[in-house]
């Protein structure tokens, strides 16, 4: 076994396999562009990115938790409840507070709600599915219990991040892209990011090497909660009000779907923020494309499920193909 000298062909194939989600995204985008007259316009691309930004933050949050080897069923309802709490506290209860305090409040509320998950998963040691199933129910119904209608007189400062524009571009888009870049940087370049991958890939090994899983779980769920709070902020900006149904419906499933489509493994340890971004954009492109074809809206929801299933199958073969390229020549040990 000499050094790893991959042929140019292998390198190209490895590149394609690793960035398959972007190739698929490009393909789907081209198909819609060629078949729908108004699809390939700057305005439409702007719209797709705008709609993808709030759900994108939920996808990033879920991806982080999945890479760490856990899952968070409550992530969308953290967005909902932190929005509702922000409305109840900063608009109804303490209306004299300046609008920007709501922005801080919503992110902190998300982090606190996420840290509840982190506490029970990390410190108490309960299975993340069970913990977040409980908080999913609690957060969802607490949102309704605080306010059964909608809080409408939202201050302009609170609406701006999700609804305002800077130089004509919706501010939500750079918020989402910045979150993606920052998380991607943290995951690939810092110790913390390495530990997230390690605890997801092999929690026993991480523990034996002195990485504190209780502390890491607490931090991961808290960060995911803060991202969900930020997502709630963007939802408030979209809707310019805070209804009790905010971030409900399919959102939690789309958060998982976007991550999985983007190549994040449910088993933990594998995935990237770039992939997760690709996943959420693919969902957005297909949703927008099909919306322009007058297809029954219910069937669009059905289509999301179909895409997820297709993505799972593609990823299965993608991983196998990647391993075949990666296995060092002369190695007798094949990947299981």
């Amino acid at each position: 076994m000499a050094g790893v000298r991959r042929s140019a062909g292998q390198k190209v194939r490895l590149f394609i396999v690793r960035n398959l989600i972007w190739a698929i995204l490009l393909f789907v985008f081209l198909v819609f562009s060629l078949t729908l007259p108004n699809f390939f316009t700057l305005q439409n691309i702007h719209f797709i990115l705008y709609v993808a930004s709030a759900i994108g933050l939920l996808v990033f949050a879920e991806s982080l938790v999945l890479i760490s080897g856990s899952m968070d069923l409550s992530i969308a309802h953290i967005a909902g409840l932190s929005s509702m709490l922000t409305g109840a506290v900063t608009i109804q209860w303490l209306p004299f507070l300046p609008g920007w305090t709501g922005i801080v409040f919503i992110v902190v509320a998300g982090a606190v709600l996420g840290s509840v998950n982190g506490f029970f998963v990390g410190r108490v040691g309960i299975n993340p599915f069970l913990v977040t199933l409980s908080t999913f129910l609690m957060y969802n119904w607490l949102t309704f219990s605080i306010n059964r209608g909608a809080i409408s007189n939202v201050s302009p400062a609170l609406v701006f991040p999700g609804g305002g524009r800077v130089f004509g571009v919706f501010f939500a888009i750079p918020v989402m892209l910045a979150a993606c870049l920052l998380l991607g940087f943290v995951l690939t370049r810092t110790r913390f990011g390495g530990y997230v991958h390690a605890m997801g890939g092999n929690p026993d090994a991480a523990r034996m090497l002195g990485i504190s899983l209780p502390r890491m779980n607490f931090r991961v769920f808290t960060i995911a909660g803060a991202l969900a709070g930020l997502s709630g902020l963007l939802y408030v900006g979209y809707l310019k009000s805070i209804p009790s149904t905010i971030a409900g419906g399919d959102d939690i499933f789309l958060a998982f779907a976007g991550a999985i489509i983007g190549g994040v493994s449910l088993k933990g340890g594998e995935g990237s923020m770039a992939g997760a971004l690709g996943g959420v954009l693919l969902l957005g492109v297909i949703d927008t494309g099909t919306a322009m074809t007058l297809i029954d809206p219910a069937l669009r929801g059905f289509l999301n499920g179909l895409i997820l299933l297709g993505a799972i199958l593609i990823n299965k073969y993608r991983v196998r193909l990647r391993d075949r390229i990666l296995i060092p020549a002369g190695s007798s040990e094949a990947a299981a």
Partner: protein
């Protein structure tokens, strides 16, 4: 580390009446033992004898319920893996402490990566890490094709090499090897025994946990035999044969009941 009584170097590590309970199970029953500098100790015993629990206590993975531990003559708590590592105790947990989908270099430094930059902008120094990893593996005469290769493509022996590289790089004084040859083919096991001899050359003490008596017999200076949570025998290699060890391991040997440390 000089013993005031006889003027000879004192033990590197000493355990005094260490107890560990898992619920109703008394996993360690007043375990006392010593490991001297430059010494390879073979820790043997049947499954369930308490070897793994003892190793977990010494390496800081689990805490003990009673007893004292001294390191270089000083009392220590050994409450965490980090503390053990800071003292110079490194543990090689078979190939289990390797994260398959991370690179070989990342695995060697996992938990203690070299970084550059300041504050929240501190990033892992991948160049330094890769260079050190390459140098360490070459030192162990391991020919892993690339330190960027994912560890899951390594053979069992190579994974052991990754784990042993950690011990060498972080300048351990004591290396604990937990069943290092169990998962390996014959050539891999020979490689690992070679690593252990190299540790001794570098004046690193070693506790070698195994139930493969033939492997440990080839390299150990002394044997500790555990039976049902206690150290049942403590014998120098010159005093026993492999057959004696087999009998001791199942708790019916002439040494059973303990014997003073011959030093």
């Amino acid at each position: 580390m000089i013993n005031p009584v006889n003027g000879r170097p004192g033990p590197l590590l000493a355990l005094q009446s260490v107890d560990k309970w898992y619920g109703e199970v008394h996993a360690l029953r007043g375990v006392s033992l010593e490991v001297d500098p430059d010494e390879i100790v073979g820790l043997i015993g049947d499954n369930g004898a308490g070897k793994s629990t003892l190793i977990k206590v010494i390496s800081g993975v689990t805490s003990r319920d009673g007893g004292e531990i001294t390191w270089k003559g000083r009392k220590v708590t050994l409450g965490s893996v980090r503390e053990a590592q800071a003292l110079g105790i490194e543990t090689v947990h078979q190939d289990r402490a390797v994260v398959g989908n991370m690179s070989v270099a990342r695995n060697i430094f996992l938990g203690r990566e070299p970084t550059r930059g300041i504050g929240p902008f501190r990033v892992i120094d991948r160049k330094v890490m890769a260079e050190d990893a390459r140098r360490l593996l070459a030192g162990l005469r391991l020919h892993i094709s690339s330190v960027d290769q994912e560890a899951r493509f390594c053979s069992g022996g190579e994974m052991q090499g990754i784990a042993i590289s950690r011990a060498m790089h972080f300048r351990a004084s004591l290396v604990i090897l937990d069943e290092p040859t169990t998962a390996l083919a014959v050539t891999g096991a020979q490689t690992v025994l070679g690593f252990i001899r190299k540790l001794k050359e570098d004046h690193i003490s070693c506790i070698f946990v195994t139930h493969n008596l033939h492997d440990v017999y080839a390299v150990a200076d002394r044997f500790l035999v555990m039976v049902r949570g206690t150290v049942a025998a403590n014998v120098s290699r010159n005093d026993v044969t492999v057959e004696d060890l087999v009998r001791l391991q199942i708790g019916q040997g002439r040494h059973a009941g303990g014997r003073a440390n011959g030093g």
